[in-house]
């Protein structure tokens, strides 16, 4: 079961950084200095804060968020329906594909849901086919047809 990361104490500056840096980060020579100035702090403090936030797992990422399809690659969500007693075997096979970026167990007849991120759009179909062949279960490919909204802010 996925459980919480060690909860760490957040002070005002931590919160400001988490909130502010979800909006964007300067592409400048001394970006941490710029952020610090904006928040009435200094570069050293901001770097120390962010290092702690990242090491403790409060920030799961810090950097550019790439858009797979616009990089020329393929992306899809796919699902499998696997009997419980065969789940671990199939899980190992699916996770071994480098194209599988995320994989979740979910409570449904379709109980394994994974995101495929591939270098080319054509590779998505191939991958689904290979996973079907390797596991013996049909992959239900659910590529997005329309995207309505991306991005959720977590205010703290």
């Amino acid at each position: 079961m996925r459980r919480k990361i060690d909860p760490i104490e957040l002070d005002d500056l931590d919160r400001q950084l988490i909130n502010e840096l979800q909006n964007g980060f300067p592409v400048s020579e001394r970006p941490f200095h710029d952020v610090a100035k904006q928040l009435g702090s200094d570069e050293k403090t901001v770097l120390a804060k962010l290092t702690r936030l990242r090491e403790s797992g409060v920030l799961s990422r810090f950097g550019p968020m790439y858009h797979a399809e616009r990089m020329g690659g393929g992306l899809t969500l796919a699902a499998l329906s696997i009997p419980e007693d065969d789940f671990d075997r199939v899980n190992d096979i699916v996770n071994a594909f480098p194209e599988v970026a995320h994989n979740y167990k979910r409570e449904h007849e379709l109980n394994m849901w994974f995101v495929l991120a591939t270098e080319t759009p054509e590779r998505v179909e191939e991958c689904c086919h290979e996973i079907t062949e390797a596991t013996g279960y049909q992959v239900y490919n659910m590529p997005k047809k329309q995207e309505f909204f991306i991005g959720l802010r977590f205010d703290v």
Partner: protein, 161 residues
């Protein structure tokens, strides 16, 4: 969207930054030093990728579990195909929803054509929010289900080789 095309230099920059930026005073110089580019070149490339939408944004991604948003349910909806855009935009505008997509059905096992990730402090909050959406849709909600994740099996993020 521009006609941006990835070249070898972009590829190097993507590889060097897809795990994140180094937390040092001059991060772009540090990235450049790793791959034989100047900080200016790195910034110029990143700006071009931002403009082309290849980079959605540069910034922080909080771990929602660590912030107490411990529950997220993948709500899935069967709505009339001809209204999916209108409904998707409505649901996508809700502040507790991320990732709202239209996806293909796979009948008979999968009858839902709209996906909306619903977040909350706990499962109960998520369920209440799903009920709010159901109420909002009225009879356009021809059936829905919420799939909670019971285990993260893999999470590596997007990677290029």
């Amino acid at each position: 969207m521009s006609n941006w095309q990835m070249d070898e230099t972009d590829r190097k920059i993507i590889k060097a930054t897809q795990e994140g930026l180094p937390l040092v005073e001059a991060p772009y110089e540090a990235v450049g030093a790793e791959i034989g580019l100047s900080g200016d070149e790195v910034r110029q490339r990143l700006n071009a990728m931002l403009e082309a939408g290849v980079i959605r944004r540069i910034g922080a991604v909080p771990n929602h579990y660590a912030l107490g948003y411990t529950a997220n349910g993948m709500s899935t909806w069967d709505v009339p195909d001809e209204k999916v855009k209108e409904i998707g935009e409505k649901i996508g505008a809700l502040d507790f929803v991320s990732h709202c997509y239209e996806r293909p059905r796979h009948q008979p096992i999968w009858n839902y054509n709209l996906f909306a990730m619903v977040h909350g402090k706990d499962k109960e909050t998520c369920m209440k929010r799903v009920e709010m959406i159901a109420h909002m849709l009225g009879e356009d909600d021809r059936g829905h289900e919420v799939l909670f994740s019971s285990k993260i099996l893999k999470k590596t993020g997007l990677r290029i080789a």
